[in-house]
C-alpha cells in the first residue's frame, strides 16, 4: 500500500491511458453486434497484445499499474462505472456485467481455498447455490433487509460447508477431491428431487426492496430511463470491491503467510508451530462464505433459480476460471472471468459449440501453460523489491 515512492507522472499517465483503452475495448465488444466485427475486434486485441509485448509495452503498462496499486484499483472501479454510465439503459449488457462481477467474487472465495490454503473445492457452484436458495427462501419474508439476506446466505453456505470439514481435514490429494466432488453431485440431485425448494423446475426469488423502493422496477432520473439492473450492478461492484480488499488484506497479512506455508509444506509449517487444522478450517469457511454471499445476490438478480444453475459443470467452470487466470492472482481471476463470461455471450456463432471449445481451450492451457494467463508473483516483502 505504501508504494507511492516511485509514483512517477509517466506511470500515472500510462495507467490512465490503459484504463481508457480497456473501457473503449469493452464498449466496442458490447456494442458491436455483427459476428464478423466481433471476430475482428478480438483478433485485433490479440494482435495488439502480441505486438505490444514484442516491443515491451506490456511490461511498461504492468509495471506502472503495479507501482501505483491504489490508483490501479481506483481505475478499475472507474472503468466499471464508465461502462455502467455508457450502457445505463441496456438490460443485457448490465446483466453480463453483474455476472462478471459476482462470478469474480465467487472465484476469489475459491482462491482463498485453493490459491492460498491449497484446498481443492469441486463444489464451488454448490455453495454459490446454497446462498442463492437461502435468498429465495428469505425473499418470502419482506421484513428482512437485503444486506442481511446476503450475509445470511453466506453464513448458511459456511455452515453447510462445515459438514465437509471433518472428511476434508482427514483426507488429502485425490481422496480429498472426492469429498467435495461427491458433495457437488449430492447437492444437485438433492435440489432436483426436493419438492419444498421447487424441485427441478426451480424457484422464484423476490427482488430486493430497500426503504420501500423495489429493485425490480426501472428508474427514471430526469428524462433518462435507467435500467433496473443499474442498482444491482452497483451492489455487485461494491461486493466485489469489499471482497477484493478483504482477500488482498488476507494475502498480505500474516494470515496469508500462514496459509501459503500450509499449502507449500504441511510438515515444515507444523514444525514452525503453525496450526494446520485451524488455517484449513479458516480458509475453507471464508471461501464458502464468500461463495454464498455472491450466490445470494446473483439469485436476487436472476429472480428465478433452478438446480441447473448450480450443477457440477458450473463448479468446474469456477475452477477453470481460477486456473486460467493464474491461481492466487486476484487480477488474473477477474480478467479470466470477464473472458469466460463475455466471449460465449457475444460470440453467438460459437454458442452451440461453447462448451466444446471452452473445455478444449482449458485442456490445452493445462497441458501447455499450466501457470495460467497471469501467474501469481512471489511475495515481495518490501515495496519495490524485486523478488
Amino acid at each position: 500500500m505504501s508504494t507511492n515512492t516511485t509514483n512517477s507522472l509517466s506511470g500515472v499517465l500510462c495507467s490512465f491511458a490503459f484504463a481508457g483503452v480497456i473501457t473503449a475495448l469493452m464498449t466496442a465488444i458490447f456494442i458491436v453486434e455483427s459476428q464478423l466485427l466481433i471476430a475482428g475486434v478480438l483478433l485485433g486485441t490479440i494482435g495488439a497484445i502480441v505486438i505490444s509485448s514484442k516491443f515491451g509495452v506490456t511490461s511498461i503498462i504492468l509495471k506502472s499499474l503495479g507501482e501505483n496499486e491504489n490508483l490501479s484499483n481506483a481505475l478499475a472501479v472507474l472503468v466499471t462505472l464508465a461502462l455502467i454510465v455508457i450502457f445505463y439503459d441496456d438490460h443485457y449488457v448490465l446483466f453480463i456485467l453483474c455476472t462478471i462481477l459476482l462470478y469474480s467474487v465467487t472465484v476469489l472465495g475459491l482462491n482463498i481455498q485453493l490459491g492460498y490454503a491449497g484446498l481443492i473445492n469441486f463444489s464451488g457452484a454448490a455453495f454459490f447455490g446454497v446462498g442463492g436458495y437461502t435468498a429465495a427462501v428469505l425473499s418470502q419474508y419482506h421484513s428482512i433487509p437485503p444486506i442481511l439476506t446476503l450475509v445470511i446466505g453466506g453464513i448458511i453456505a459456511a455452515i453447510v460447508g462445515s459438514i465437509l470439514l471433518l472428511p476434508i481435514l482427514r483426507t488429502s490429494g485425490h481422496y480429498s477431491a472426492l469429498v467435495t466432488l461427491a458433495f457437488a453431485l449430492l447437492f444437485k440431485v438433492f435440489l432436483d428431487v426436493n419438492d419444498s425448494l421447487g424441485g427441478a423446475q426451480g424457484v422464484d426469488v423476490g427482488s430486493f426492496t430497500l426503504f420501500g423502493w423495489d429493485f425490480g422496477n426501472d428508474i427514471t432520473i430526469g428524462s433518462y430511463d435507467v435500467s433496473f439492473y443499474v442498482p444491482y450492478v452497483l451492489a455487485s461492484l461494491v461486493m466485489l470491491c469489499v471482497v477484493f480488499f478483504f482477500v488482498r488484506r488476507i494475502e498480505r497479512s500474516w494470515i496469508g503467510l500462514c496459509l501459503d506455508s500450509v499449502r507449500i509444506d504441511e510438515v515444515s509449517s507444523s514444525c514452525f508451530g503453525i496450526n494446520i487444522v485451524r488455517w484449513k478450517i479458516v480458509a475453507f469457511t471464508i471461501g464458502n462464505f464468500v461463495a454464498g454471499l455472491s450466490g445470494a445476490l446473483y439469485a436476487s438478480i436472476l429472480g428465478y433459480i433452478s438446480p441447473a444453475n448450480f450443477s457440477f459443470g458450473d463448479s468446474l467452470m469456477f475452477l477453470s476460471i481460477l486456473l486460467l487466470g493464474g491461481i492466487g492472482n486476484l487480477w488474473g481471476t477477474i480478467i479470466a472471468t470477464a473472458i469466460v463470461v463475455v466471449l460465449p455471450e457475444k460470440f453467438q456463432v460459437i454458442q452451440e459449440y461453447r462448451l466444446f471449445i471452452y473445455s478444449t481451450l482449458v485442456l490445452l492451457m493445462i497441458v501447455y501453460r499450466p501457470v495460467g494467463l497471469l501467474p501469481r508473483k512471489t511475495r515481495t516483502y518490501r515495496p519495490g523489491e524485486s523478488s
Binding site: 485425490h174 461427491a182 493445462i366
Partner: protein
C-alpha cells in the same frame, strides 16, 4: 419386506455393481501405473456405447438379417478395439504429458477431456443430443418365481462381466505383462532398470482399461436399452468414488467399492421407499462419511509417508 422383492433388488444391485466395478477397475489401473486420476474414464464408457451403436448401424446396413449373437459379438469387438486404440492415443498425446503437473491440474484436465468427449458426441454424432435406443441383442426370456422375475439377459451380462474381471485378475497376477504392469505401478524407475518398457506398458494399460470401459458401455446399453451422451459424467463420478472408497491402486478395492456403491444406492431405494429419489443423495452422503472414517479408502494403499 417381501422375499421376492428383496431378491429383485439384490439382482438389480448386483447388475449395477458389476457395471460400476468395471468402470472403477479402469480408474484404479490408471492410477496404479501413472499416479493420475483419469476422470474422463466415465465418458470413455459412453464413447464405447456409441461405438457399439455405430457398429450396429454399419453392420445392419450391410447384413440386415444377421443373427443376434453374431452381431453382439461383432459390435462388442468393434467397440472394444476402437476404444482401446482411442485410449492408447489419449494416453500418448495427453495423459503422459500431464505427469509432471500438479494433481489438481491433472484432475481438472481429465475432467475437461471428459467434457470434450461428451460435447463431441453431442455435437457430431447424428442426433447425438437425444437419447438413442440401443438394439436389443439378447433373448428376451425371463424366469418368474412368484413376484420375482429373473431376466435372462441380466444373467448373461453378469456372467460376462464376472468372466472379464476374473480374466483381468489372471492377466495382472499370472502373466509376464501383468508382472510388468505391477512393477511399473510399484516403482517406475526400478521397473525401467529391470528392462521394462515404461511407455509401452502405460499404453497397454490404457488399452486394457479402456477396453474394459467399452465393455461396460455395451453392457450399459444392453441393460437399459438406451444410451445418451451425458451418461458418462455420473458413471465416471461413481467409478471414481468406488475406486477411492475401495482404496486407489487396488483392483479388489475397486471391485469392492463398485458393489458397495451399488449396494448403497439399492439400500437407499429400499430403506426409504417414501423417498427413493434420494438414493443418490444417500449413496454420496455415505461416501463422504466413509472418507471421514477411512481417509485412504477401505483397503488402504500401501505407501510410506516420506518426510
Amino acid at each position: 419386506m417381501d422375499i421376492s422383492l428383496l431378491a429383485q433388488f439384490t439382482v438389480n444391485g448386483l447388475m449395477l455393481g458389476m457395471m460400476y466395478a468395471l468402470v472403477a477397475v479402469g480408474f484404479t489401473l490408471f492410477f496404479g501405473v501413472l499416479d493420475i486420476i483419469v476422470f474422463s474414464h466415465g465418458d470413455v464408457v459412453m464413447v464405447g456405447a456409441f461405438a457399439a451403436l455405430t457398429g450396429h448401424y454399419w453392420l445392419t446396413g450391410i447384413y440386415p438379417d444377421m443373427s443376434m449373437w453374431v452381431e453382439l459379438f461383432f459390435i462388442s469387438c468393434i467397440s472394444i478395439i476402437t476404444v482401446a486404440a482411442f485410449g492408447m492415443i489419449m494416453a500418448k498425446t495427453m495423459i503422459l504429458r500431464l505427469r509432471s503437473a500438479s494433481p489438481l491440474n491433472t484432475l481438472l484436465a481429465t475432467m475437461m477431456l471428459g467434457t470434450v468427449l461428451r460435447e463431441a458426441v453431442r455435437l457430431f454424432f447424428p442426433g447425438g443430443s437425444n437419447p438413442k435406443p440401443f438394439p436389443v441383442l439378447l433373448p428376451d426370456i425371463s424366469a418368474s418365481f412368484g413376484d420375482f422375475t429373473l431376466r435372462f439377459d441380466s444373467v448373461i451380462l453378469f456372467v460376462l462381466g464376472a468372466l472379464l474381471i476374473v480374466s483381468l485378475h489372471l492377466l495382472i497376477t499370472k502373466t509376464k505383462l501383468g508382472m510388468a504392469i505391477r512393477a511399473v505401478a510399484q516403482d517406475e524407475e526400478t521397473a525401467r532398470l529391470m528392462g521394462v518398457n515404461f511407455t509401452l506398458i502405460v499404453l497397454i494399460t490404457f488399452a486394457i482399461g479402456s477396453a474394459v470401459a467399452a465393455f461396460a458401455g455395451v453392457m450399459n446399453g444392453l441393460y437399459y436399452n438406451e444410451i445418451n451422451f451425458g451418461m458418462g459424467l455420473l458413471l465416471g463420478a461413481i467409478g471414481f468414488s468406488a475406486a477411492i472408497i475401495g482404496g486407489l491402486g487396488n483392483i479388489y478395492g475397486a471391485i469392492l467399492g463398485g458393489f458397495l456403491f451399488a449396494g448403497l444406492q439399492t439400500l437407499g431405494a429400499v430403506a426409504m421407499p417414501f423417498a427413493s429419489a434420494y438414493k443418490d443423495v444417500f449413496a454420496f452422503g455415505v461416501v463422504i462419511l466413509i472418507m471421514a472414517w477411512k481417509p485412504t479408502g477401505l483397503i488402504a494403499e500401501k505407501t510410506s509417508e516420506r518426510v
